[in-house]
Symmetry: C2
Subunit: 748 residues, 2 copies
């Protein structure tokens, strides 16, 4: 706790003295506790490389969350204290352990290569956009890190005397093993490390990440190590070294195996800083080296950091907020920052990247993105990109279509050109449709439509939509299908089908529109008016016995739902809010049930199925104020300028996108419908810079104006001096406005 | 047994029909039983690559000698029946498990990658110089193999239907693990495999052997596999695949880990032959590919085999023997064949090789040799090379001096640029001196002398001569020194010092001559006239208590000796035979003791310390006939044209060199003394082709002539029609003779 206070103090100090530019409001510690699963490491916008402190291995006395003692998905936990290095490829805000490899570690004194022995506590952490530093207690070393897009750069300030820099390729957050390392010269190491099996899926697709490491000071001595697996045969009796770590001093050829590493040692006559650059690539060592050279060649640590800070400043300045609420600005800009981590750049500087499933190396003229956690991001993340970073969103759409070309299927949860099949539904359709409907049409929409149709109609060997045959025949996936969470799956398919229908309509494909629109409400088959819940059904149409609307909370097993219970899924049907209201017997019943979600503690801010519930009050005329109230209550409760300042896994920026939208006062309530619903913004004024290439203008201003709120007579929005009649505004109207005034009730 | 009869029959057939060229007498099965540790695989003379059947893994019901159930040093055992592939780098005739990796295996039907499942019995084995074939019972596949110097070439004749070719990089004879594999295209695989820790020494020096594999028929499908180590942490509960083999179908990037492999699968419409070339290198994959291309590019299996057969024919024709004893010719030419396996070529076709201990890649204009089992080979092997292949011997001397340049020390038991420190003594000195003294002077003898002096005089941090300080001070290494086998070690140092003295004399270094000559007889300190044995002593000069002359036989622990007992070491002092005779009280006592060795069963033909004992009778005037008798008895008993036709480990050709010399009727009885002693040759006539560049003439003929043997009046040798007065002839006289007639007693 003491540590946190120190950092907090530093940040406050910073805010007072700095220019208060958007980049200065980034607090990378947000989300590093409470399972936010972000890391405070240095990264450039959408960087392939990042350098994160790695403090999740070993010493459960010091690390309350330890990677091998539990399910843990992050390389860093704020409360942990035992640091075992700095990992150079990392994921942010995900729910499964992966990457967290190519771990460097500076030490002093005699060489120790077991992380349990060389690990240390640390002090005086500092984290900014593109920068992290800490002091290593055992060694009196200051370790600083920054990063360009594909290269992690560290500066280790050593005291006088014997020192070491380790490159540990055994340790990692991933559960995969296997690495190669080769010391090229006293200033260069190259190698690769196997990663993969994200969320314990597709272990057979595990793949290497390559690296080239360059040291600013030549090693006095160097070597590699290998920890062999223990030999079990008779011969073990002659192997006095059985299972023991071998130190391969001066070794310059490849060392390969499940657990290996390399070290440089120094003997400094005076305190000395060593800069370490590690370029990464998913194509080859050569590309990793080229990435390093092209991005950081001739630049020292400070120069790389200055460039990366500038990149962050440019990215984050897309929104300028005004107001006296500094803490909210930290939350806001850190949320924007977290949205600029995944999806991340996958291609090397020369354009190359490994294609998905073809085994080939592809080449892009633009950017190939990866890390598509689409079950999360289809709900708000990509909508926000379409508004703030339309050029990025279009590149992502193109990446998704390339994935379709390569793999024959759109992505579901794609990571580094592997389809991990994590979570359910068919979310790509929503994103493609939504993007097009928001006016970002510069992609091959016919191919996109073809790809959507394929996953929506192919009933054999369809990896994206298991249970599709039942769904088409009966309107729902049954508990007999063998598909996990059949009610959730049915709802997700409905949402995807709604998206297809919307795009079909836009493209003038009337038949497709009608067909998929009809399919998009088939969830109604699962609505039981008696329980007033969606319930799992047998294939023959009979309700599954023993329905418990609470089953499924906290990830407990559940016959109907995935990562949620019946409360948390009931309203996840914004595309048919009117239909659901009707089913439930009217707006009052709908509202009462929605109230119950919040009042009875069924609401889960930490996961996606219900996280748009607060906005649903805007569907109930006269109760719209509840939306703003609830949204702002949740913002205050769950989003904070502190390590526990995210409600849970950031879900590759989805939780952050929720905050950004909510703090700006609007939200894309219906996936694949180009419309926002309105709540009270957090800031006095918000200036959104628009990309004129896409929106024909360069900005949009939102202002908050307090009014006397007369119940049942709220008119939330003024545009061009005209008051809008309801709580919804189309994307087109929003971006075409010069200034929007969000009317808000006076504070109670 | 049946199998052997079949082969034997084949060979007989061959002898009748073939031209009876030397190469046709090679029976690569000799030494594949009785722990000869040779393999019947295909290899070119001194080849870096070889392709051996690998039948020592798993199924102890079928494999009586299994690599993990006991100490086993060969990839193939004649009696074993369960074959699990064909290994592409192999050692021959050594006593420790090493190499036996890059294992290919053709199968049919569904893909199986565990050797316990895919292994098979086999039939109709055939082995010739540069060729091996067998039929795989399970699969109806004929597998044939040949090899160029650095490339193994296989031809697999598949039946119609589904077939597979596996490249198993997990399995191996070595105890090291760790490999990388990458499928480059449907006709090409590349990778590397860690090997090392020969004789369980220096595991930290384990190193990769690289390969490039080329298939003549593109795979229909391909993939890699990985067997991961089992995850022990909490997360194991979510890893349903924990520890299970992963099949990585279509995977084209590097797969790395402790146990991996790759496969090609085919679906043949008709019976089809696939040729597989695997080039190897100890430098890089690129070099392995270049080796393959340069040696076998554009050549099919038959063409490569024809070339390799020609190389063998050229090498083996260095001696032409005449007589009616066909079986002896098989033994003789197979012995010559076994002498052409190690030391083997280490540099790639472009001259590159990894230097020892520098970490650099060196480049040679000539040939860099490796696999210097010098404790074995200093006794006769290199002497025979100096006579038959002087150009090779000089290249080997140069390789030894390069090793000194790179490593700072001459080799002791060098393997692939690692010093394994196997066995004792300082054997390099003997070889360097002996070579020079035989007139092969075209090397840097001053450097050689300097190198010898270093190991003979440097008492601190001397890896070659442990216990040197005691030895210099007291003349012997004591049981208190911590050095294993101190009596053996003292004798070996004496022998090396004798060699240094001889070279010093030749170079006119009188001081060195005197000093080392004196040192060369210090073993006398260990002779106990009471027991008439060399005995271990304490540093203070007192005999160690409880001396047992039998201790140490059969590799049992022994305070005084290494790999032998007091009987087997007592006479290993031919350089001071006269001195020992004196010590023992005269020729009679010496002869009686020597008789006792043979009569009481103390003689061990399978190991080096005593294997020259039979020749020592030539030091006893009047008893010389015993030498011939004993030598020929041992030849008959231990050297046969059958798998058990070697007395034990071939010791990289040392046992074979013993046979070649003994069958020709002369033997280099004193290491580093350019002299031979004479016995009765096996053949009627022997024509030795000499290299005129070294010997000024191109051949030497030895003929056998039976005479009435009058006891105590033997004159064994006639040269230029003159009878020689004793049983010794200098190397110079031998090579300068046009024809030598070895007089031999009539058969009794």
């Amino acid at each position: 706790m003491k540590k946190f206070l120190v950092v907090y103090g530093l940040l406050l100090f910073q805010c007072v003295t700095a220019q208060n530019e958007p980049v200065d409001y980034v607090n990378p510690f947000i989300g590093t506790s409470n399972f936010g699963a972000t890391h405070p490491g240095a990264i450039a916008p959408r960087g392939m490389a990042s350098v994160s402190p790695f403090n999740v291995a070993g010493r459960t006395d010091l690390n309350s969350l330890e990677k091998d003692s539990r399910w843990l998905s992050n390389p860093y936990v704020y409360e942990n204290k035992f640091l075992t290095g700095f990992s150079h490829v990392n994921m942010s805000g995900v729910g499964c352990p992966e990457l967290g490899v190519i771990i460097s570690m500076p030490t002093t004194g005699s060489l120790k290569i077991n992380h349990l022995n060389y690990g240390t506590t640390y002090s005086n952490e500092e984290a900014k956009a593109g920068y992290y530093s800490a002091e290593l207690d055992e060694y009196n070393i200051k370790a600083e890190m920054t990063a360009s897009t594909r290269t992690g750069v560290s500066r280790y300030s050593f005291p006088k005397g014997k020192s070491n820099i380790l490159l540990n390729l055994g340790l990692g957050l991933t559960n995969e093993q296997g690495a190669m390392v080769k010391i090229v010269s006293p200033t260069e190491i190259e190698g690769m490390r196997t990663v993969g099996s994200f969320c314990y899926n597709s272990p057979e697709a595990a793949y290497p990440v390559y690296f080239a490491a360059e040291f600013s000071v030549p090693a006095n001595e160097f070597g590699a190590w290998k920890i062999p697996s223990k030999y079990e045969g008779e011969e073990a009796q002659w192997m006095t070294y059985n299972g023991e770590t071998r130190i391969k001093k001066g070794f310059t050829r490849e060392v390969i195996g499940d657990s290996i590493g390399a070290y440089f040692t120094y003997d400094f006559k005076e305190p000395t800083s060593v800069e370490l650059k590690i370029g990464v690539s998913y194509v080859s060592i050569e590309n990793a080296r080229e990435n390093l050279k092209k991005e950081t060649g001739g630049k020292d640590f400070d120069a790389v950091y200055a460039e990366t800070r500038k990149s962050w400043q440019d990215k984050l300045s897309v929104v300028e907020v005004k107001g006296n609420n500094e803490e909210d600005k930290h939350v806001f800009y850190t949320s924007l920052y977290h949205m600029q981590i995944h999806p991340n750049i996958f291609n090397d500087v020369n354009g190359e990247y490994p294609e998905i499933s073809t085994g080939k190396i592809g080449k892009t003229e633009g950017t190939r993105y990866t890390t598509f956690s689409l079950w999360d991001t289809y709900r708000n993340y990509h909508q926000l990109l379409s508004l703030l970073y339309p050029e990025e969103q279009l590149e992502m759409v193109n990446s998704m279509l390339e994935i379709y070309d390569e793999n024959g299927w759109l992505p579901k949860w794609e990571l580094n050109s592997t389809e991990t099949f994590t979570m359910v539904g068919d979310p790509a359709a929503v994103i493609l449709s939504d993007t097009y409907l928001r006016g970002l049409t510069d992609f091959n929409v016919e191919k996109a439509y073809e790809a959507m149709l394929k996953s929506a109609t192919k009933t054999e060997n369809n990896p994206l939509r298991p249970g599709l045959d039942e769904y088409i025949k009966n309107g729902f996936v049954s508990v007999d299908s063998g598909v996990a969470g059949p009610v959730s799956v049915t709802q997700e398919y409905n949402i995807a089908d709604f998206a297809i229908a919307q795009l079909a309509k836009e493209l003038g494909k009337e038949e497709g529109y009608q067909k998929f629109l009809k399919r998009s409400v088939s969830y109604r088959e699962l609505y039981n008016p008696e329980s007033q819940f969606l319930q799992p059904k047998h294939e023959n149409g009979r309700w599954m016995e023993g329905f418990d609307p609470l089953a499924g909370a906290n990830f407990s097993k559940n016959p109907g739902f995935i990562e949620g219970n019946a409360w948390q899924y009931l309203f996840m049907l914004s595309h048919d809010a009117e239909g659901l209201i009707k089913l439930m017997g009217g707006e009052k019943a709908y509202e009462e049930k929605l109230d119950a979600v919040f009042e009875k503690g069924h609401f889960d801010m930490a996961n996606e199925p219900d996280f748009a519930y607060p906005y649903l009050y805007n569907f109930i005329p006269g109760s719209e104020n509840k939306a703003s109230k609830q949204v702002n209550k949740l913002l205050n409760k769950y989003y904070k300028n502190s390590p526990d300042g995210l409600p849970g896994n950031d879900d590759t920026g989805t939780m952050s996108a929720w905050a950004v939208y909510s703090m700006m006062g609007f939200y894309p309530i219906i996936p694949a419908k180009s419309v926002y619903t309105i709540t009270t913004p957090v800031f006095e004024q918000i200036k959104i810079k628009l990309n004129p290439d896409f929106y024909g203008k360069d900005s949009l201003i939102i202002r908050k104006k307090e009014i006397n709120n007369q119940k049942n007579k709220v008119y939330p929005l003024m545009r061009n001096n005209q008051v809008f009649p309801n709580f919804f505004i189309s994307h087109e109207d929003l971006v075409n406005s010069k200034e929007l005034i969000f009317l808000t009730p006076e504070k109670e």
